[in-house]
């Protein structure tokens, strides 16, 4: 069922919103509160884990292939927007707040903006452009350049 949601994320935007809406309506109508809570916990936990692992600097790897980059970015944003759509519904937000994985989900969600070590390296040593920032490991030697 969780995988089914990720399949919906991959659909063209024209159908995605409507299908997601239909699925959520039928879930709210037919799931018992405990089942909804258990399912929402599992779904948002998987979604947030996926969000936490999204590469921030995917553009660097596909610098000359704009098409690939665009589709990756849309996919990444699509996943985040699913969380937005889900928590717009009170029953789902309620179930998420009560789920045992809420704090872990928050950790994953808010780690989105932190680049991984590889991403930092590629950002710091990109061509001739080198940056200094106290938070960037390995950039200490460039300190006096700036």
């Amino acid at each position: 069922m969780v995988q089914f949601f990720f399949e919906i994320v991959n659909m063209p935007p024209a159908y995605k919103e409507r299908i997601l809406d239909l699925v959520l309506n039928s879930m709210e109508a037919h799931f018992a509160p405990e089942d909804l809570s258990r399912f929402v916990g599992a779904l948002l936990s998987a979604t947030c884990r996926k969000i936490g692992r999204l590469p921030v600097l995917v553009i660097n790897e596909f610098k000359n292939q704009k098409r690939t980059y665009e589709s990756k970015r849309d996919y990444a944003l699509g996943i985040i927007r699913v969380v937005e759509v889900l928590i717009d519904r009170n029953a789902i937000l309620y179930a998420w707040l009560r789920s045992t994985s809420f704090s872990t989900d928050m950790d994953w969600l808010y780690s989105l903006c932190m680049p991984s070590r590889d991403e930092i390296d590629s950002l710091v040593s990109q061509g001739t452009k080198k940056f200094y920032h106290p938070a960037l490991p390995g950039s200490e030697t460039l300190r006096f350049t700036y």
Binding site: P33, L54, V56, L57, V58, I59, N60, Y69, R73, A76, L77, I80, R81, V83, E84, I87, D88, N90, L93, Y94, L97, R98, F102, S103, M106, L109, Y110, L112, C113
Partner: protein
Amino acid sequence: MELLGSCVDQQQQALSKITDTLLNGRPLYSEDGTDPLVPRKHFLRYL
């Protein structure tokens, strides 16, 4: 770098909408209406 900036910007905008729902969402009630949950309280507890 410009494209990278716009990608991160869009991700952060989406994330800030989620944060807004968690911070400013209305209190939620269980089926029988007896168990109010305030999203803000839960979110601040996490922080």
